[in-house]
C-alpha cells in the first residue's frame, strides 16, 4: 500500500499516578499519528484517563492496551483497560450514574461511552473488569 499505516500496538502496565500520566502521553501521540483531529484526540485521551483512573481506584492496578484498528476501510483506535479487581457488581447502575454537575459520583462510564464510538464492558463480582472502547477516523 502506498501510504504506510503503521499498525500500532502498545501495552502499558498501570500501577500508579505517573503511569496514568505516561499512558495519556502515549495515547495522545498515537492518536495524532493515526490522523485524529485535535478534538478527537482530546476525547480519546480523556476517555482513556477515566478508564485508567477507574482501574487504579477500584483495582489498584491494571493493564492498558492501545492499538490501531481497521474495519473494512475505516481506521481507528482501540483501547482496552483490563484489571483483576473486584469487578462491578451492578453494571446497569454504573451505566446510569453519570457525572452530575454537582459531581462526580460513580465511574463516569456513560461519559466514556459518549466520548467514543463504541463501548463494551465485561465484568462480574470477583471477575475483574475489562473495558473496550473504539474511535474511528472520520472519513472526510
Amino acid at each position: 500500500m502506498s501510504l504506510d499505516r503503521h499498525s500500532r500496538s502498545l501495552k502499558i502496565s498501570i500501577e500508579s499516578d505517573s503511569d496514568l500520566l505516561a499512558a495519556r502521553q502515549e495515547a495522545r501521540a498515537i492518536a495524532f499519528e493515526l490522523g485524529f483531529t485535535l478534538t478527537a484526540v482530546v476525547g480519546i485521551v480523556t476517555a482513556l484517563s477515566e478508564m485508567t483512573r477507574n482501574m487504579l481506584l477500584y483495582a489498584g492496578r491494571g493493564e492498558l492496551l492501545i492499538e490501531s484498528v481497521r474495519d473494512g476501510d475505516r481506521n481507528g483506535i482501540l483501547i482496552t483497560a483490563r484489571d483483576d479487581g473486584p469487578g462491578i457488581p451492578d453494571v446497569q447502575k454504573a451505566m446510569m450514574d453519570g457525572y452530575s454537575t454537582s459531581g462526580g459520583l460513580g465511574m463516569g462510564l456513560p461519559g466514556i461511552k459518549r466520548l467514543m464510538d463504541s463501548f463494551e464492558i465485561r465484568t462480574g463480582p470477583e471477575k475483574g473488569t475489562t473495558v473496550i472502547v473504539r474511535k474511528w477516523l472520520e472519513t472526510h
Partner: protein, 321 residues
C-alpha cells in the same frame, strides 16, 4: 495571538491534518486476487509490452478513434483527450509490465483530480479503460494469431493484468469522486451555519434546518473556536430556523451553552417558540439557567446591554419629538 491560534487558521472548524486528506484507501490491493507472476508470465508480459510500445502511435490512434465513436469524454477538447490518452496509455503499458499497482493507483487518483472538475463521469472512465484493454487485446490477436498456443499463453498473461488495471483505475476514480462529494457536502454544511461577528465581542449563530448529531457537534466545535478567535463575550444562538427540537438537539444546545461558558462567553438563546420551550422543560432543562429571549432582535439588544453598549439615537433623529 499565541501560536495555538495561528495553527488553527481562520477559526473555522478543526480539520484533520492536511497530510491525511489524500490517503489512498487501505488494502485495495489486498482485496484483489493476487496474480502469481512466475517467470514465464513475466517474460510473456515483457514481450507483449514491447510490442505494445512499438505499436504505440497506431494503437493510441485506434483507441482515440474508438473513444470519439463511443461519445466518451465529450466534455473535453480533442487536444485534451489526446494529452491524457498519451499518458494513460504509457501508464497502462507500464503497469502491465511492472505490475506496480500502487503507482497506478496514485496515477489514477491524480488523473481523477484533473478530470472530475471537467465533468467527466464514471461510465466514461470505465468505458475508456475497457476500450484500451480491447484495443490492446486486438493488437495481440493480430500479432500472435498464427500461433494459437502462443496466443493462449499471451492472453493468460495479459488478461489478469489488464483486468486489474481496469479495476484499479475505475475504483480510484470512483473513490476520488466520493471524496469530492463529501468535501462539497461538508462545505455546504459549514455554509449553512455561519458564525457571524456583528459587533466586537458579540457573535451571532443562526441555526437553520435539521440538526443531526454530527452537524450538532460540528456547530459546537466551530462556535467554540470562533469564540476564541473573535474574543467573543456574548453569543446569540438563534434557533428560529430549527423545525424540530428533540432530546438530542436540546442536549446539544445545552452542551453548547455550557462549553461556551467555559470559554468565558455568555450565551443568549433566541427564537424559542412556546412548543420548544416546553420540550426543553420536559427533558429537564432548567430554563432558568439558560438565558433566553423571544426573538433575535431582542437577543441582540440583550447582548449589547450585557456588553455595556448604550444605544445612541441616530444623527438627525434626535431633533424629533
Amino acid at each position: 495571538m499565541s501560536d495555538h491560534d495561528t495553527s488553527r487558521g481562520k477559526g473555522t472548524a478543526v480539520r484533520a491534518p492536511a497530510a491525511v486528506k489524500r490517503q489512498l484507501p487501505p488494502a485495495l490491493d489486498a482485496q484483489l486476487p493476487e496474480v502469481p507472476r512466475d517467470e514465464q508470465t513475466t517474460e510473456l508480459l515483457r514481450e507483449l509490452v514491447a510490442h505494445l510500445r512499438a505499436q504505440r502511435t497506431q494503437l493510441r490512434e485506434e483507441w482515440l478513434r474508438r473513444i470519439v465513436e463511443a461519445h466518451l469524454l465529450t466534455a473535453m477538447s480533442r487536444e485534451e483527450i489526446y494529452a491524457e490518452a498519451t499518458s494513460i496509455y504509457d501508464q497502462y503499458v507500464e503497469a502491465l509490465e511492472a505490475g506496480a499497482f500502487e503507482a497506478l493507483q496514485a496515477y489514477a487518483q491524480n488523473l481523477s483530480e484533473r478530470i472530475i472538475p471537467r465533468g467527466v463521469e464514471t461510465n466514461e472512465v470505465v468505458g475508456i479503460v475497457l476500450l484500451l484493454r480491447d484495443v490492446l487485446a486486438r493488437a495481440l490477436f493480430i500479432k500472435y494469431h498464427s500461433n494459437l498456443d502462443k496466443l493462449n499463453d499471451i492472453l493468460d498473461a495479459y488478461e489478469p493484468a489488464a483486468n486489474r488495471i481496469a479495476i484499479t483505475v475505475s475504483v480510484g476514480f470512483v473513490q476520488e469522486r466520493e471524496r469530492v462529494i463529501r468535501a462539497q457536502q461538508e462545505a455546504i454544511r459549514e455554509l449553512s451555519t455561519p458564525v457571524l461577528q456583528v459587533r466586537e465581542r458579540l457573535l451571532i449563530l443562526p441555526i437553520i434546518g435539521l440538526i443531526d448529531p454530527h452537524r450538532a457537534r460540528q456547530i459546537t466545535e466551530q462556535l467554540l473556536v470562533a469564540i476564541r478567535s473573535n474574543r467573543a463575550r456574548v453569543v446569540v444562538i438563534d434557533i428560529t430556523g430549527v423545525p424540530v427540537m428533540d432530546t438530542n438537539v436540546a442536549n446539544h444546545l445545552v452542551q453548547t451553552v455550557e462549553a461556551s461558558r467555559l470559554l468565558g462567553a455568555t450565551v443568549i438563546v433566541t427564537g424559542l417558540s412556546p412548543d420548544i420551550a416546553q420540550t426543553l422543560v420536559n427533558i429537564g432543562v432548567d430554563l432558568g439557567k439558560m438565558n433566553t429571549v423571544g426573538d433575535l432582535q431582542g437577543g441582540i439588544e440583550e447582548a449589547e446591554h450585557i456588553l455595556g453598549y448604550k444605544v445612541m439615537p441616530m444623527m438627525g433623529e434626535a431633533a424629533e419629538s
